[in-house]
């Protein structure tokens, strides 16, 4: 087991399960959101389109997309976001987080309780015949923020809130992957202990053939689904990460398990896997 691994503490009381009201997402809502974010309210000056399950508002280099199923949205400045303009960004995590918070507050998007999950950096490097690294620079910093409900972070398979800053500390993208949280539906019946949840995760991985399991981290959180899934309830879950080794130890794999924290969850914590068509045997003379 990894040295830093520890089990999360079990709260002393049950936790609320929240109802998630269905998002009201349409072109009108997209335009209203664009106006709120200060990128223009007049649809005659914008490009409106539907791309898959998203509504997209474009104006100049700005692109705002809004997911129909979840209400998640993202604003990108395509002229600046992830673009290498030859500069190097030198900023500490705390300063980046402060700038991100200030930006979210100015857009009235700052959660009342939050945790900074991570500050990531976009790096570039190049090397040629002399085999030395040239031009290693950081071209942006992204602050990954999670809202906190009842002292638990809200997690999910996308990013929750991300603010990306370039070398001039200009915001180049804003991701807001959060559903509106409604009233408490009910309290959890009883919470499973973290030992029990870890044992379930281990069992899943052993059934899949893992011979050695190294847990990395485990968190108790509220679990949100990805952008294009509908979700009715926000429920507590254990998020477990591990490194798995199979029969050939030269191969290792990162693995994630999401285990319901409630002994009797309101609905499955994750959507059912899509049915897979069986593979027909490939002919032996193919080329």
């Amino acid at each position: 087991m990894a040295d830093k691994f520890s089990l999360p503490k079990l709260p002393a009381t049950t936790l609320p399960v929240f109802k998630l009201p269905p998002p009201h997402v349409d072109e009108r809502g997209l335009i209203a959101l664009a106006s709120r974010l200060g990128i223009g309210a007049d649809p005659r000056e914008a490009r409106l389109s539907r791309v898959g399950e998203r509504f997209v508002f474009g104006r100049g280099s700005l692109e705002l997309s809004l997911h129909r199923a979840s209400g998640y949205f993202r604003l990108i400045n395509r002229a600046l976001w992830q673009v290498d303009r030859g500069a190097h960004l030198e900023i500490g995590d705390d300063d980046a987080a402060r700038l991100a918070r200030e930006h979210l507050a100015s857009a009235s998007l700052l959660p009342s309780h939050l945790a900074v999950r991570r500050v990531s950096r976009l790096n570039v490097a190049v090397s040629g015949p002399d085999r030395s690294v040239q031009d290693h620079r950081v071209i942006d910093v992204a602050v990954h923020i999670q809202p906190v409900l009842h002292e638990l972070p809200v997690e999910g398979p996308g990013e929750q809130i991300v603010v990306t800053l370039d070398h001039e500390h200009t915001v180049t993208s804003l991701t807001h992957n959060l559903r509106a949280v409604g009233k408490v539906y009910r309290e959890t019946k009883a919470l499973r202990g973290p030992d029990d949840a870890l044992a379930e995760a281990r069992l899943r991985w052993e059934v899949a053939g893992a011979r050695r399991i190294e847990p990395i981290e485990m968190r108790l959180c509220y679990w949100e689904l990805a952008a294009d899934f509908t979700q009715t309830y926000l429920q507590p879950a254990y998020f477990v990460r591990a490194i798995l080794y199979g029969p050939d130890e030269r191969f290792r794999t990162g693995a994630v398990a999401v285990i319901p924290a409630d002994v009797d969850p309101v609905e499955p914590i994750e959507p059912a896997p899509r049915p897979r068509a069986s593979e027909q045997p490939r002919a032996t003379q193919e080329s």
């Binding site: 790096n123 690294v133 794999t253």
Partner: protein, 235 residues
């Protein structure tokens, strides 16, 4: 519009005689990519999963009998491979479910891009072990023989969602810069992974230009020789 050809291979279940632990969502990653590229007008040439994905599809014929890369992985412009990966002795190795003709394929048997391949996704762990010159140049410089960009991961990643390949295919199919699209689709702060894109060029400027700007419309802008690599990663 530039139309490109696509081939995908993926393995979830190792039930064909070669022994690895099972994976999940590899089919969704590879097929999500393929389906979204097709929705943008590109052409899917093959989709081999589990026991139908073969080592010979990646081995160049110079490296022994049966090497058939010129008819499969190197016969399309964009190949997406989702599976286990391992990295030792400055080679990347990918694992197959069924031995045809081997359970593993080593990058020492690859000549990526000598025919049609421009872009290769290795949606695997350990595509590089870190971002230093030995980890990137020693593994990739000699293997990239015409391919423009390789997309993979530093160290381990955790395949846990069905959407990542779809998001990458959607952005690539819309004509966005490929390296940026890969990093954006694959990075996850919760899983602490490090996606990386490695671009080739005959010159320093060419490699950097591909890393920053190359899109699928660059299909016919060939890499005349791979003397430089420019890479980009989020961590």
């Amino acid at each position: 519009m530039t139309t490109i050809t696509i081939g995908v291979e993926w393995i979830n279940r190792f039930t064909g005689g070669c022994s690895q632990n099972q994976l999940s969502d590899m089919d969704s990653h590879a097929r999500g990519f393929k389906e979204h590229m097709v929705s943008h007008g590109h052409i899917a040439m093959f989709d081999w999963g589990d026991d139908n994905a073969w080592e010979t599809d990646f081995r160049h014929p110079d490296f022994g009998s049966g090497g058939d890369s010129l008819n499969w992985s190197d016969n399309v412009n964009f190949c997406y491979f989702a599976d286990h990966g391992g990295n030792w002795s400055s080679t990347v190795n990918i694992a197959f479910s069924k031995s045809r003709n081997a359970c593993l394929s080593s990058s020492s048997t690859w000549k990526l891009g000598v025919k049609n391949l421009k872009w290769l996704v290795l949606d695997i762990c350990d595509g590089t072990l870190d971002t230093t010159v030995p980890a990137v140049i020693d593994v990739w410089l000699s293997r990239m023989q015409g391919v423009h960009i390789v997309f993979t991961f530093v160290n381990t990643t955790s395949p846990w969602g069905a959407d990542e390949g779809r998001h990458f295919g959607d952005a690539a199919g819309q004509g966005h810069a490929l390296a940026n699209a890969w990093l954006d689709a694959m990075f996850g702060s919760s899983i602490d992974n490090t996606p990386i894109a490695i671009a080739a060029g005959a010159t320093r400027d060419e490699a950097i230009n591909r890393r920053e700007n190359e899109a699928i419309s660059w299909r016919d802008y060939s890499v005349s020789n791979t003397s430089w690599l420019a890479w980009k990663w989020r961590h």
